[in-house]
């Protein structure tokens, strides 16, 4: 038996191809939306993995440093280093800001890190690591910076000495790594005019400027112009030690919050990007409905255009199931063309997105099944119309 659906598709391939192209672009957008969500989850996981930490120690009663702000004293790490099972502990700061290069600006997460400690970028794709204590930076390639570029962060200029890859914040902003002291200054210090004003204000305060207490005013001024805070301490535990056990000790004795990697992943994926995920899920649902409506409309219109032929087919003895199968196959064929176009489109345009778009094979397979199911469902309207056709309409008046 010849394939009626196949012949019809071949006969009107132009219409099918154009419809499939339109549907495919819609499916491409749908796959990309799924890829954006996967990219966000992957960014979160990579952020944690590349930090090289087993524990994140943050301010008590906060879910910092990524989901909430956290501020702890920068000498906390010393106490943690002395705890059993802790191999490394290092301060880190995180600050999302506009990093300037000449007249241009790039939104980036500026990370203050201690060279050699957790939090340092794991690998470089160009240049070298930060070796000086000040004014050197390593940037993610997504910033668009090159080795040798001069960046301005707050009041200071930094030279990009190395480039890394896949180091982005949970929001997808590429990272710029600078020495911890510079980052602390950038994050917490005021500009010179503000410092001068603050000093004048302090000097006018009789409780802080007591003639009977020499050195008090200077000590207060000094405390205002130095910064002793960081956002978190990243901890690496000894092999074979349970990070959760070490975290419990930190929580109990240091009056700080400590998260294991699994807990931090939970915070990032289930809380930080949960709203974005729901947003994307809404888009996916709407796109699926729109796709179904388009397929239903196209197949229904194409079927209505063949009502006379369907009446003739029924009159000459074609079974209803043969006609239903023809329409179903056409809908599935349209879905197949659309899916192929969509997959190719998504693959082509995904790298052009500013944020990471991860097209997973599993999502592709699930997407294919959903498209096929949507097309099958969408064809029911046309099948109903075809089955209602009276074969008698093929004959005369």
């Amino acid at each position: 038996m010849i394939s009626l659906a196949g012949r019809d598709i071949l006969h009107s391939w132009g219409k099918f191809a154009l419809t499939g192209l339109g549907l495919g672009l819609l499916i491409g957008v749908t796959l990309t939306m799924a890829g954006v969500y996967r990219g966000m989850v992957d960014d979160a996981k990579v952020l944690l993995k590349n930090s090289g930490a087993d524990l994140w120690v943050v301010q008590k009663d906060t879910q910092g440093p990524y989901a909430e702000s956290s501020s702890i004293r920068d000498d906390v790490y010393r106490g943690i280093l002395g705890m059993p099972g802790v191999v490394q502990a290092a301060n880190v700061t995180y600050l999302t800001m506009q990093v300037r290069k000449g007249d241009t600006e790039v939104r980036a997460m500026v990370v203050g890190f201690v060279p050699g400690g957790p939090g340092e970028p794991g690998y470089l794709v160009a240049g070298r690591r930060v070796t000086r204590g000040h004014y050197e930076a390593v940037a993610d390639v997504n910033t668009g910076f090159a080795v040798g570029d001069r960046l301005r962060i707050r009041r200071h200029d930094y030279t990009v000495v190395g480039l890394t890859r896949r180091m982005v914040s949970s929001g997808g902003d590429p990272m710029v790594f600078i020495p911890l002291k510079d980052a602390q200054e950038a994050q917490f210090l005021k500009d010179n005019d503000a410092i001068v004003s603050e000093r004048a204000r302090t000097a006018l305060n009789p409780s802080l400027n007591r003639p009977g207490v020499p050195g008090l005013l200077e000590a207060i001024d000094a405390s205002q112009t130095s910064n002793r805070n960081v956002n978190a301490v990243l901890v690496r535990v000894a092999e074979g030690r349970s990070p959760e056990a070490v975290a419990q000790i930190i929580r109990r004795w240091k009056h700080l919050q400590a998260y294991t990697r699994a807990q931090m992943e939970e915070i990032l994926v289930a809380k930080l990007i949960a709203t974005a995920a729901r947003q994307i899920a809404m888009f996916l649902a709407i796109l699926a409905i729109v796709s179904a409506a388009i397929v239903a409309f196209i197949i229904y219109t194409m079927t209505l255009g063949k009502i006379r032929e369907i009446a003739v087919l029924k009159l000459i003895g074609t079974r209803n199931r043969t006609i239903a199968s023809m329409i179903l196959q056409q809908a599935l064929g349209l879905g197949l063309i659309g899916f192929l176009v969509g997959k190719i489109s998504a693959t082509v345009w995904a790298p052009a997105f500013p944020k990471y778009v991860l097209l997973e094979t599993g999502d592709t397979a699930r997407g294919f099944l959903i498209v096929m199911m949507v097309c099958a469902f969408a064809s029911t309207l046309a099948i109903r119309a075809a089955l209602k056709v009276d074969p008698a309409t093929a004959i005369g008046g």
Partner: protein, 238 residues
Amino acid sequence: MNAGVGIHIESLSKRYGEGAAAVDALKDVNMSVAPGEVVGLIGPSGSGKTTLLKCLGAVIEPTRGRMMLGGEVIYDNAWKISDLRELRRDRIGFIFQAPYLIPFLDVTDNVALLPMLAGRPNGEARSRAVELLQALDVAHRAKAQPSELSGGEQQRVSIARALANKPPVILADEPTAPLDSERALAVMRILNLMASQYQTAIIVVTHDEKIIPTFKRIYHIRDGRTVEEAGEGREVGP
């Protein structure tokens, strides 16, 4: 079974609607067409031609009466055949006013489709199609799409399709309406030839004055009743 009967109907009636709104479209119609015979069914609009054709084609159910096809009773105040779709596919050929060829199948497959639907192997169905296309002199267009054929060629292909399953009866609904005189007479010549060659009973519904003189027997239908009369039986050439 009476192999000497192509189609035979007795006292066939068809009523549409109920009560005061009822319309008797056919009233005790009698008709008999022998194998190999081509008869005309003529009448004004609304006389019941199409209703009769639909009853004969098993697409609507008569109200009462009796119908025999190829000697077998297919209707006797009720359908005697359980699968009317199969009856239409295997034992009745249809030719329409417009050819209504399937636009996405080529000429051969348009003809071969019926044997394929009847479960015949593709090769056998296509051989049958080629044989009919040769008989109807359109074999040279076997691979063409219907849209590439002239009106006359399309109608010849539709005749080939009607003959594809070797039905004992062909119902032709104004098959020459869209054709000029020459092509209309050519179609009638083919129908006569095919009727004689395949021993098929053919009923041609028409009000085409050009072809009426070609029938040897004509059934006039008026107000749902048929009257048989002899036709001129004019020769339409070789």
